[in-house]
């Protein structure tokens, strides 16, 4: 293990270049440690995001050696190649500056996919009783840990090739809501997520599933949406 890391960091906006920094190598160092070192000791003008630094918020997501990751949960020793680290902003999102992206599109698509819970009960009704071992609840539970970090979105090639594609996170959220027996907007939601810009554009690359730091499989949820949409379309209900 050499003493120094050669860190190439994207500087600029959509146009820009990689700038090299030499960062001292330490044991159990994470990529977040590296970026923070650069900003605090080498170049305070570097823009980057982080918050919890313990793998709970997803704010620190960026492209590390070509792959979307959480920097706080990525050990340098796991990803460094020949002493080189390459840091870039998350893919498929407009770049604000350096390592910071504008995530508006990501959340706009979440809204377009009707990723909001629509209640059917009022405060006067008793609590809903939802058994945890029903198939629907298991489907929902498999996807509700998503914290909207954008790693799956940045990893998806269809997002790159089809600008309107809602993307894995939005569709995963839609799937969890389709499986929520308390929700009252399932017909409209199915209509919102079906079609060329929706679940049917997924080609099962499984990159989202491969990269999700919460081990969620958006692909599985999207397959579920495909089945539900097909049933509805063939019945003329879509």
């Amino acid at each position: 293990m050499s003493d120094v890391l050669n860190v190439r960091v994207w500087r600029g906006g959509e146009e820009g270049e990689y700038q090299s920094f030499q960062v001292p190598r330490r044991e159990s160092q994470t990529v977040l440690d590296v970026v923070s070192h650069i900003q605090r000791h080498l170049d305070p003008s570097l823009a980057y995001r982080f918050a919890c630094r313990v793998g709970m918020c997803g704010s620190c997501a960026m492209t590390v050696n070509g792959v979307a990751r959480w920097t706080c949960r990525t050990h340098v020793s796991k990803v460094v190649k020949d002493g080189v680290l390459e840091l870039a902003p998350l893919a498929h999102l407009p770049v604000v500056r350096d390592l910071v992206t504008d995530m508006s599109v990501f959340f706009d698509k979440w809204a377009k996919a009707r990723g909001q819970f629509h209640p059917t009960a009022t405060r006067k009704d008793p609590f809903a009783r939802v058994k945890p071992d029903t198939p629907e609840r298991k489907n929902a539970d498999a996807g509700i840990e998503c914290i909207g970090c954008g790693v799956c979105y940045a990893s998806c090639d269809v997002v790159q090739w089809q600008p309107d594609y809602l993307g894995p996170a939005a569709l995963n959220r839609a799937w969890t809501l389709q499986n929520d027996v308390r929700d009252g907007a399932q017909d409209e939601r199915l209509r919102a997520v079906a079609g060329d810009a929706g679940c049917h554009a997924c080609h099962t690359h499984l990159s989202c599933t491969e990269r999700c730091p919460k081990q969620i499989s958006p692909t599985a949820g999207i397959a579920g949406l495909k089945r539900a949409a097909m049933k509805a379309a063939l019945k003329g209900e879509l």
Binding site: N65, G66, A91, H203, S207, S217, A220, A223, R227
Partner: protein, 114 residues
């Protein structure tokens, strides 16, 4: 672009690429295939002429490649149908497709060489 390929280097992505490329090649081949067979209608002598080309090793190689594309597209497609309709999970399914593809390939290779 180097960046994109570093993220794409996992089995399911290669399975996708094989499936798409084989699909494109098969779609390009089909009209030719249909046209040659259609020669049987009015011009079976010409069809025979085309069929004699299959004696040449290079043509045999091309045919073998086409059969391989067909087998690959079939096994990849069955895998996709399983993932989408049977709600299968996990990369064991990749292994299964790979095994099936290889088995098919081995069987065909043997049959063809023989």
């Amino acid at each position: 672009m180097n960046t994109a390929w570093r993220a794409r280097n996992h089995p399911a992505w290669w399975a996708f690429l094989v499936h798409r490329i084989s699909g494109i090649l098969l779609t390009l081949f089909l009209p030719v295939h249909f046209w040659v067979l259609g020669l049987a209608l009015h011009d079976s002598a010409r069809l025979d002429g085309f069929l004699h080309w299959t004696d040449y090793p290079l043509v045999k190689l091309g045919e073998f490649f086409l059969v391989l594309m067909l087998a690959a597209h079939l096994t990849g497609g069955l895998r996709l149908l399983a993932l989408e309709f049977l709600a299968w999970r996990g990369w064991q399914k990749n292994l299964l497709a790979l095994a099936a593809g290889l088995a098919l390939f081995a069987g065909l290779a043997f049959a063809y060489v023989v």
